[in-house]
C-alpha cells in the first residue's frame, strides 16, 4: 500500500509537456481574444440585473405586430423552398462529377472537388451581398445566394455518399452492357435515394435558417422587417417577430426530422 505514495502517471512525460504547453497557448490566446473583443465576464455577471432589465425591454412581445410579419415569413419560406429545389436539381450532376466511383478521370474529379470546397468557403452573407450588388435589391438575389450556399453543402454530402456505395452493383450493370446513364439510374440512384432525400430536407432546414440573413442585406424575406424594427428600437415588435420565426423554424424542423427518420 505504501508504494502508491509515489504517484506514477500513466501518461509519458514528453506528452505531458506538450499537452501542458498547448493548453497554456490555448488559454493565452483565449484571454487575448477576450481582451480584443472587450468581453468582460466579471462585469457581465456583476451587471446581470442591468442585462436582465434590458432583456425585459423586449417583453411583453407586441403581438399586434404579428400580422405584419406573416407576409415576410411566407416569403422567407418560399425563398427557401425554391432555392432548395434549384440546388437539389443542380447538385445531381455536380455530385456525380465529384465522386470517384463515377468519374475515373483524376483531373475532372479534383476540379469539381475543389470547386465544391471553394463554394463552401464563401459565407452566406457574402453570397447575398454579391448577388444583391449584381441584381439589385429584391427576392431574386436571395434565391440565388441560398442556391449557391446550399449547393456546396448538398453536393459534398451527396458525392461522399456516392463514393461509399457498393461498386460491385455498378460493375454488374456495366458488365451486362449498361451504359453510363443506365449504371447511374439502376446502380447509383437506388443506393443513394434515401440519403439524397434526407440531405435535401436537411439543406431545406439550413436554408430556412440562413434566409434570415438575406433581409439584412436587401435580399428579401423576414430579415428586412427585423432590421427596420431594430433600427426604430421597437424591441417589443422585434421579439414578436423572433418568436414567430422561432415557431416556424421549430415546426419546419420537426416535420423535416419526422420525414427524414422515415426515409432513411
Amino acid at each position: 500500500m505504501q508504494s502508491t505514495q509515489h504517484h506514477i502517471s500513466i501518461y509519458p512525460r514528453g506528452m505531458k509537456m506538450r499537452v501542458t504547453l498547448t493548453l497554456v497557448m490555448v488559454a493565452l490566446f483565449y484571454f487575448f481574444s477576450l481582451h480584443k473583443t472587450e468581453s468582460d465576464f466579471i462585469e457581465f455577471f456583476s451587471n446581470l440585473d442591468v442585462v436582465f432589465m434590458k432583456l425585459l425591454s423586449m417583453f411583453p412581445p407586441n403581438w399586434d405586430y404579428i400580422p405584419h410579419a406573416i407576409g415576410p415569413l411566407i416569403e422567407t419560406i418560399q425563398i427557401a423552398i425554391v432555392a432548395t429545389t434549384f440546388s437539389v436539381i443542380i447538385c445531381i450532376p455536380l455530385s456525380l462529377l465529384s465522386a470517384n466511383t463515377i468519374v475515373k478521370n483524376q483531373y475532372v474529379y479534383y476540379f469539381f472537388r475543389n470547386l465544391l470546397n471553394l463554394m463552401r468557403t464563401i459565407p452566406d452573407i457574402l453570397l447575398a451581398t454579391l448577388f444583391v450588388s449584381l441584381f439589385g435589391v429584391g427576392i431574386l438575389p436571395g434565391i440565388l445566394a441560398l442556391t449557391v450556399f446550399s449547393l456546396g453543402i448538398l453536393a459534398k454530402l451527396l458525392s461522399e455518399t456516392i463514393e461509399t456505395i457498393d461498386p460491385r452493383q455498378l460493375e454488374a450493370i456495366q458488365s451486362t452492357g449498361g451504359n453510363l446513364l443506365q449504371v447511374i439510374w439502376y446502380g447509383v440512384v437506388p443506393q443513394v435515394l434515401p440519403q439524397f432525400i434526407s440531405y435535401g430536407l436537411y439543406v431545406f432546414e439550413l436554408n430556412v435558417r440562413a434566409s434570415l440573413v438575406l433581409g439584412f442585406v436587401g435580399a428579401g424575406g423576414i430579415g428586412s422587417i427585423i432590421d427596420t424594427q431594430l433600427n426604430f428600437l421597437q424591441y417589443k415588435n422585434v421579439m414578436a417577430i423572433l418568436i414567430l420565426l422561432l415557431a416556424a423554424v421549430i415546426f419546419i424542423e420537426t416535420v423535416s426530422n419526422f420525414l427524414r427518420r422515415r426515409v432513411v
Binding site: 500513466i10 490555448v26 490566446f29 483565449y30 487575448f32 481574444s33 477576450l34 480584443k36 473583443t37 472587450e38 468581453s39 457581465f44 442585462v51 436582465f52 434590458k54 432583456l55 425591454s57 423586449m58 411566407i74 416569403e75 419560406i77 418560399q78 425563398i79 423552398i81 425554391v82 429545389t85 471553394l118 468557403t121 464563401i122 459565407p123 452566406d124 452573407i125 457574402l126 451581398t129 454579391l130 444583391v132 450588388s133 449584381l134 441584381f135 439589385g136 429584391g138 427576392i139 431574386l140 434565391i143 435558417r209 434570415l212 440573413v213 439584412f216 442585406v217 428579401g220 430579415g223 427585423i226 432590421d227 431594430l230 424591441y235 422585434v238 423572433l242 420565426l245 422561432l246 423554424v249
Partner: protein
C-alpha cells in the same frame, strides 16, 4: 389463391405504397405551386433589364480589389477570428458537463438524461441571428455580444456531439476501474477522459471552422466582426473594397480550414 400459370398476384402492400406515393406527390406539387407562384409574384422583373449594365459595371470592379483600406479590413477580420475563437472555447468547455448529462451511459435516470438531451436540442433551435439580436439588445452592440452568441450556439451542437462520443466509449474500462475500487473522479480522469478527449478536441476544432463563417454575419445586427463592414461597403457601392473583403475572407477561411483539418487528422 388463384394460380393460372401467370405471374403471381402483386402483394397488397404495393397498392398501399402506390397510394401513399401519390399522396406525397400531390402534397409536394401543391407546396411547389404555392412556393413558385409566390416567388414569381414577388419577383421584380425589371432588375433583369439592368442586369447587363450591372454586370458590366460591378464585376470588373470586384475583380480589381482595392487594398488602400487594408488595415480596417484586417482589423475586422482579426476581430471575427477572436470572436469565433473565444466563443468556441467557451462552448467547448461548457459543453463537457452537458455532454455527460445527455449521454445515455453516464446518467442512470432516463428522465434526467432525456432532459439533458432536450436542453441541448432547445439550444440548437435558436438561429444565430436571433440570439445575436437578443444579446445586442441586452449587453449592447459590440464584439462581446458576438462572443456570447457564438458561445451559446456552438454549445448546443458540441454538447450533442460530445454526448454521442461518450455513448460510444468502451464501458469495460470503466467497469474494470469500478471493480478495482476507483472513485468517480479517478474513473473520469483515467477511464473516460483518455477515450473521449481526442474526439472532443477534434469536434471543437471543427466547430471553430463553422464559427469563423458564422461570425461573419454577426455584424449585420451590430454584434461585431466583419459583417458591419461588408454591409457598409456594399451600401456605399464600394465594389473594389468589397472584392478585397471577399478575397481576404475566402483566404482566411481556407487557411483556417486547412490548419484545423491537419490538426484534426493528427488528433483522431
Amino acid at each position: 389463391m388463384e394460380n393460372n400459370g401467370s405471374l403471381p398476384p402483386k402483394p397488397e402492400r404495393l397498392k398501399q405504397k402506390r397510394i401513399r406515393n401519390l399522396v406525397i406527390a400531390v402534397i409536394l406539387l401543391v407546396i411547389y405551386i404555392w412556393a413558385f407562384s409566390g416567388v414569381i409574384r414577388a419577383m421584380d422583373w425589371s432588375m433583369l433589364q439592368k442586369l447587363d449594365e450591372n454586370i458590366r459595371q460591378v464585376l470588373p470592379k470586384l475583380f480589381s480589389p482595392d487594398l488602400t483600406e487594408w488595415r480596417k479590413v484586417f482589423d475586422k477580420i482579426l476581430e471575427t477570428i477572436f470572436i469565433a475563437y473565444a466563443g468556441t472555447l467557451i462552448a467547448a468547455i461548457l459543453a463537457v458537463p452537458f455532454g455527460f448529462w445527455a449521454a445515455k451511459n453516464m446518467v442512470k435516470s432516463p428522465v434526467w438524461n432525456t432532459m439533458g438531451k432536450w436542453f441541448l436540442i432547445l439550444d440548437r433551435t435558436f438561429p444565430e441571428l436571433i440570439l445575436a439580436i437578443i444579446f445586442v439588445i441586452s449587453v449592447g452592440p459590440g464584439a462581446f455580444a458576438g462572443v456570447l452568441t457564438i458561445g451559446l450556439t456552438a454549445f448546443g451542437m458540441l454538447g450533442k456531439l460530445y454526448a454521442e462520443v461518450i455513448e460510444s466509449i468502451d464501458m469495460k474500462v470503466v467497469e474494470a476501474m469500478e471493480a478495482n475500487g476507483a472513485n468517480k473522479i479517478q474513473i473520469l480522469f483515467y477511464g473516460i477522459m483518455p477515450q473521449v478527449l481526442p474526439e472532443f478536441l477534434s469536434f471543437a476544432l471543427y466547430r471553430f471552422e463553422i464559427d469563423i463563417r458564422a461570425s461573419t454575419i454577426l455584424g449585420l445586427v451590430g454584434a461585431g466582426g466583419i459583417g458591419t463592414l461588408i454591409l457598409i461597403t456594399a451600401q456605399n457601392r464600394n465594389w473594389p473594397q468589397l472584392g478585397f473583403i471577399i478575397i481576404s475572407i475566402v483566404v482566411v477561411v481556407i487557411a483556417i480550414d486547412y490548419i484545423s483539418g491537419k490538426l484534426r487528422k493528427r488528433l483522431v
